[in-house]
């Protein structure tokens, strides 16, 4: 009773592999972010387990999965970092790490583009614009 996956109808989240894919990606993505000299100072002293949970929520949303984020949460959550100088260049660096993570996991360029586009929708809220 095999079923042919109709990629035209499957959601982005399904095409990427759902929650399993998010778990695989979080580990790689958060490691890249913490190792990235351009942005890792924003993560000094944070509780790593809590931060990993936040990264997972972010990736789930960017993967087109169930999201509980609101623009207000994004603004409030990053307000302190904006005061510390968080700007477009840092946001770009995060997107770059996200794309590199997906590419490492063998995700096609087309799907990476879709994920990046969803992530981009948070830019104004994250940067408090």
């Amino acid at each position: 009773m095999s079923e042919i996956l109709n990629t035209a109808n499957a959601t982005l989240f399904e095409q990427l592999g759902g929650e399993g894919a998010v778990n695989a990606a979080v580990d790689i993505f958060y490691r890249k972010v913490l190792a990235d000299q351009r942005i890792n100072h924003f993560f000094d002293g944070v509780d790593m387990d809590k931060q990993a949970a936040k990264q997972k929520a972010f990736l789930t949303m960017a993967f087109g999965g169930p999201a509980n984020y609101s623009g207000k949460d994004m603004r409030e959550g990053h307000a302190k970092l904006v005061q510390m100088g968080l700007n477009d260049s840092h946001f770009d660096a995060v997107i770059e790490n996200l794309a590199a993570t997906l590419s490492e996991l063998g995700v096609s360029a087309e799907l990476i583009g879709q994920v990046a586009a969803i992530a981009q929708t948070t830019r104004a809220d994250v940067l408090g614009k």
Binding site: D27, M48, A52
Partner: protein, 323 residues
């Protein structure tokens, strides 16, 4: 008819109504399960000096009975009662000091025997409380045993309220209260071939020693187990001969004592900080399980580095001590 005080409100009981029924009838948010005095989910404590009905303490520990804990689901109140929900910290168990001696110039071993059997995992911590009510958390440095004893490594601080009391006043036979074991820094069954990296500073060795014994003796861990114990100077290290012996008896256990200060004997000790030496030696930690205990700065920094060097966050167990 009696009155039950809970959450700063008073509730009147109806005839033949249990305390739990009274609280639920007034829409109080209290946990419960079996409603038959078995599961203990609804456990509460009565703050009055009058003992609660003995029938409502069925199956509770002697120490809990003494402190007026009871099960509201099987309690028909005989008097007015003022009741609260228990917190883990509120449950104090009774113990007796059975041994105490110096492990090094500033660390003492304290051995306590519990009056009742107790459940814990090696590596967890309990709160110890002295007669004056001073409470401190200490890791358990032993594995569960038939004589119900707990061992602690207590660093004696010059002005430590609790540790000075241990050093100066504690005598064998003295009674002491302790809490239920808490914390998730302990050995987990399964994946016995997984390599383990344990890094501890000072008395951070206590939980690690328990975890290593648990892994080797109870779970026959077959993967390599690497312990790095660090201190500024050699006098801060202890258990060295015990650990060297353990390494002789278990080919998969490896022990590296590290001293970061000057003037250490480098034929005996690695020179440098334990965390740096360990992370340099094992630069790829993919698939490893990592345990970190000691000063908060060391623990936080090493947790991050271990993660960056490939360990999964779920495989990093950390216990930061405040000293």
């Amino acid at each position: 008819m009696t009155r039950i005080k809970f959450d700063d409100q008073f509730f009147e009981t109806e005839p033949s109504e249990t305390v739990l029924q009274t609280l639920l009838r007034h829409n109080m948010q209290v946990p419960y399960g079996c409603r038959a005095g078995v599961c203990q989910s609804c456990l509460m404590r009565c703050l009055d000096e009058t003992p609660v009905p003995a029938t409502s303490q069925m199956g509770l520990k002697a120490s809990q009975q003494k402190e007026n804990y009871f099960l509201p689901c099987i309690c028909l109140s005989e008097n007015d009662m003022s009741v609260i929900l228990p917190h883990a910290d509120d449950v104090w168990l009774d113990g007796r000091v059975v041994d105490k001696y110096a492990l090094s110039s500033n660390v003492m071993l304290l051995k306590i025997q519990s009056k009742e059997p107790l459940a814990f995992f090696a590596g967890q911590f309990v709160n110890l409380r002295n007669k004056a009510g001073v409470t401190r958390s200490y890791s358990i440095a032993t594995i569960p045993n038939a004589s119900h004893t707990l061992i602690f490594h207590i660093r004696i601080l010059p002005h430590g309220q609790f540790s000075r009391w241990v050093a100066d006043e504690v005598a064998i036979g003295m009674s002491l209260n302790f809490s239920q074991a808490q914390g998730s820094c302990h050995y987990i069954e399964g994946k016995s071939e997984q390599p383990l990296l344990l890094i501890g500073t000072g008395t951070g060795l206590a939980p690690l020693y328990g975890i290593i014994r648990d892994a080797l003796e109870n779970h026959h861990h077959s993967g390599d187990i690497h312990l790095f114990h660090g201190s500024r100077d050699a006098t801060g290290l202890y258990f060295e001969s015990k650990l060297h012996d353990m390494a002789k008896n278990h080919t998969n256990f490896h022990y590296t004592p590290c001293v970061s200060g000057e003037n250490s004997d480098q034929t005996i000790y690695m020179k440098g900080r334990a965390n740096q030496i360990a992370l340099e030696k094992f630069s790829q930690l993919n698939g490893w399980r990592v345990y970190l205990c000691g000063q908060p700065d060391m623990v936080l920094q090493t947790k991050k580095m271990a993660y960056l060097q490939g360990a999964s966050l779920k495989d990093i167990y950390a216990d930061a001590f405040l000293s």
